[in-house]
Symmetry: D2
Subunit: 342 residues, 4 copies
Amino acid sequence: MRVGVLTGGGDCPGLNAVIRAVVRKGVSTYGYEFVGFRDGWRGPLENVTVPLGVDDVRGILPRGGTILKSSRTNPFKIEGGVERIKENLASNGVDALIAIGGEDTLGVATKLSDLGVNVVGVPKTIDNDLSGTDFTFGFDTAVNIAMEAIDRLHTTAESHHRVLVVEVMGRHAGWIALHAGLAGGANVVLIPEMPFDITKVCEYVEHRFQTNYSPILVVSEGAVPMEGGDMTVQSGELDAFGHVRLGGIGDRLAKEIEDRTGKEARAVVLGHVQRGGTPTAFDRWLATRFGLQAITAVHEKDYGTMVALRGTDIVRVPLIEGTGELKLVQPEQYAEAEVFFG
Amino acid sequence: MRVGVLTGGGDCPGLNAVIRAVVRKGVSTYGYEFVGFRDGWRGPLENVTVPLGVDDVRGILPRGGTILKSSRTNPFKIEGGVERIKENLASNGVDALIAIGGEDTLGVATKLSDLGVNVVGVPKTIDNDLSGTDFTFGFDTAVNIAMEAIDRLHTTAESHHRVLVVEVMGRHAGWIALHAGLAGGANVVLIPEMPFDITKVCEYVEHRFQTNYSPILVVSEGAVPMEGGDMTVQSGELDAFGHVRLGGIGDRLAKEIEDRTGKEARAVVLGHVQRGGTPTAFDRWLATRFGLQAITAVHEKDYGTMVALRGTDIVRVPLIEGTGELKLVQPEQYAEAEVFFG
Amino acid sequence: MRVGVLTGGGDCPGLNAVIRAVVRKGVSTYGYEFVGFRDGWRGPLENVTVPLGVDDVRGILPRGGTILKSSRTNPFKIEGGVERIKENLASNGVDALIAIGGEDTLGVATKLSDLGVNVVGVPKTIDNDLSGTDFTFGFDTAVNIAMEAIDRLHTTAESHHRVLVVEVMGRHAGWIALHAGLAGGANVVLIPEMPFDITKVCEYVEHRFQTNYSPILVVSEGAVPMEGGDMTVQSGELDAFGHVRLGGIGDRLAKEIEDRTGKEARAVVLGHVQRGGTPTAFDRWLATRFGLQAITAVHEKDYGTMVALRGTDIVRVPLIEGTGELKLVQPEQYAEAEVFFG
Amino acid sequence: MRVGVLTGGGDCPGLNAVIRAVVRKGVSTYGYEFVGFRDGWRGPLENVTVPLGVDDVRGILPRGGTILKSSRTNPFKIEGGVERIKENLASNGVDALIAIGGEDTLGVATKLSDLGVNVVGVPKTIDNDLSGTDFTFGFDTAVNIAMEAIDRLHTTAESHHRVLVVEVMGRHAGWIALHAGLAGGANVVLIPEMPFDITKVCEYVEHRFQTNYSPILVVSEGAVPMEGGDMTVQSGELDAFGHVRLGGIGDRLAKEIEDRTGKEARAVVLGHVQRGGTPTAFDRWLATRFGLQAITAVHEKDYGTMVALRGTDIVRVPLIEGTGELKLVQPEQYAEAEVFFG
């Protein structure tokens, strides 16, 4: 039995832990051989492989990133892509494929599964917005990094009568902002699910200063003002990937608050720092268990599934469950934490 | 409405986060007043109180320990203890009590509840061995500290052909050892639930050296050799609390391995370092949500309950559930991880 | 004997350690009393004082920021400012003043000293650009935070074929960029002292990709392109303090590299995260020893001096030495590290 | 030109940074080739070599330990050892040798230099007790780890009315204890240079409890009671290396304090955790600059020297300077910090 492994999408602390667990158990318990495919779906598409044995996964548990590297290649957008993948899997003698990735990567996995490829998925998103699993690995690491940044900013905020805005990841879902804001003791948390009222934000900022404390705001990169809530400060041009390059929401918000309240305001945009580096214990534990469960699923020929966390159990759910709807912050979840905000 | 709050047993990162959440929501949402009792059950027993308002809980979220201090006082072991507690609660005008603690503290809470005291429990144990909740706060912090120590030791083990033994907390349950060992990539994990065979441990150590790697062993403080598995190295005398003072299992194991295999072996006993300091994001999030739920339970007069985590939900269960049986590592949970050991 | 203490300018990890050392030794060794002045020179100017005894400095050693708060108030720019300061010092019975701050704060101290005020200075700048001392406290903390960010980014750079630009503090001097870049293994370090050639930077980026590695660039916030080296991407408008608000050099550089090379590029702007939070051991040791030496200088009536580090000794130098020229990165110091760059 | 490199003695964060700097500059600036010798002096003695090119040192800057591994082999204690080393250096075409290590390793280097071997030394000791250099790399990392442990213990000490003893490294010199104790805000620091009076230590402990604070003591592993100051608690047997195996000074001190004062006391023995793991920025900077200077010394044929830090300069001193006397904590250095103790 030969099993292929690939990682797709943005990197995420814990990817290497999944790969290591898959290979370690696959080799020692089931006697499998492995083929690593490079750069996500580009690997099986262009037949770019790397050796993947026990020695190749030694020492990678604490390392961020992915030894298989990653890309956003989508074979369904490439003429004859699916056929080439099938051919390359066959020519490498690959009987089953473990695909580790987010919405896009697992979306491709789902379609390939429907087309007869033996595939097991491992959900991955640092934003924690995949349905079907309580948590995804990488999220805990990101939240801790953001929380530590907020911890550090508290001392500056206290010493300087200054507004501090922390922009964290989360294009569609506010999980990182909500958890890091709650854990870091932020005063305002703005998330994509709930468009914010800039007037109210500024009122709160002024109120906070009157009680002699400097406010810290946490904002998801995907947070947006309410319709009609006009922000004067506009973002810069978009890049090819749709990201605002000069002046994301964090920078704009800081400037808008400064303009409206006259209080000095500064933004910290954590960016890629949140997704690199060594995973936390929780993420290593979760990623390792995901890997163990994925190779067991292969062994049991339970294809078309993805692994998931439910409570403290690792279970399997149909691949489609992980790629259907995004898991968003619900109003009652935001409301639960709101006692600390505003 | 006046609500009393106390913390009992060993300290644990997250206690202050619970206290803060209770007070913040109690004051702002319900308009309650609070009384802090010092040193666990000694507070209401001897009527030692501290002020507990919004200003008193400011800035404590990231701080380890407990602003209410703690003790192991058990009022049921003191003549007239229960009556004095009831009197002191009455004299302070306390309508309900939130007791934050482990098996012992919640055991007292359960009995007091049966005797008519309005009490809500918040489970606390760094060892994660309380039934009725998926996780307890403080555990994630302890596991991360232990994992970071193991991460550091890997480089020494690799540079020196030396056996390293890490003793972690866990007198009855091996959760910290299992999680930290899995997350840190330990080669052997010994837990109280599964008495170990010293001969096999030493065989593994020698095997590992033959393949040119130095082994790292993680051992719970409560791990014991199998019956008949005689360790030559004996522990030192016990102290008044039943703790071995000179030569716990970590030190003994290192010496025994050195004696048997001739390989240099060293122990690191992490001890109190695991339970102090700032909580991780997970523990702050969990402790904060426990606090919010506890004060809501008081508001709903849902006494005799304790709060608990199930998946990502905070629920309430009867107090007795948290104080019945210990939650131990099950054989299949150990077996899941065993592919990385031995 | 009554001694006043104030902190001016931007906050910096270690300020509280200085204050604590001054007060602890002043009280226990010399029997002095202390007056804390709030918000830098605004304190003695407007007579805003806070109590400053042994109890007030308890537990502040590990805390970032300053319990005395800070501002950029300059009494020489205020009508009658100097007289008011002298009056307020007198009315508080203050015999000597310890001023903790950077170029601006110590510049005021120097002038006041010339006008007969008994003042001792403690140099403070996170940028490490004050003459007369080997290092200033806060710098080591900032470098470690920047280095940890670079460590994290390495894994992302390796997994993604992506250029990462890290903007660190340093408006006039490149010390943080140089030390963090050296310690973090950056591939390019751009500092204010040496205007950069954007064409060469891009050539290096492309060269690096050809050898299959993704480059990490560290850039001081004050770095500028060479004259004639035209960057197409312009910065946004300046704020009242002369800071570029939308699009600092980090963001601009990332975009310019992307435009010129076609490689995806991202910037991380660490900002205030570098100056908050708990100080490193080095900074606590240095700040504490600065404080001890400052109060000894007061005891010896050695006014008009500031404390400084020379090797492992704490010495005193005339105040003017700390406020004369900025200490810049010298060409040979940059050249020493250059073997790792480009 | 071919240059040999070896690392001897205990591992220390920064060893890999030295190796990397030596190789990177040696190859790119001077066009040298390198031979790595394994396991300290055992490498050239038994002709155990490893490849050491630019690719071999890639990514090792942040990693603790040493890719060349280490041992305590002393060729002067082995019949014909020196001749074999000379032969093996010759057979490998090695023109010069860079020896990275402490007193023992550099002692061998000094003698070999006298016997005509072209050798340059790089001083290494985590204890910081080598003469001739302001600091050695690894020390700053160890002090930070110890300080973080003390930070964590403060919260437990405050919550529990409990004495906490932290045993840190330092067999002959108290540098780690002094710096970590000062940076961590310890209440008592006991070092090898100044035998302690157990009666006074216990008096202080009781005094501290009367003022309602729990004491934290930091003790070097090599600290000893004063002559005549009889400790009842005896240490356990010694191991082959002269280390006390069960019951070092930390454990003994905790028990003795508990016996004498009746207060609960606990010891934390940090052990190997202090010497493993990633180096701090200071240690990476220092180790890197040591490496750069060492290869420059080779290029200039300045043999029989070792590199050293003086202020912020890297200089060269005769090898004998680093291996003469130990650098101990001087009474005035201890006295400077003593205002915080007792």
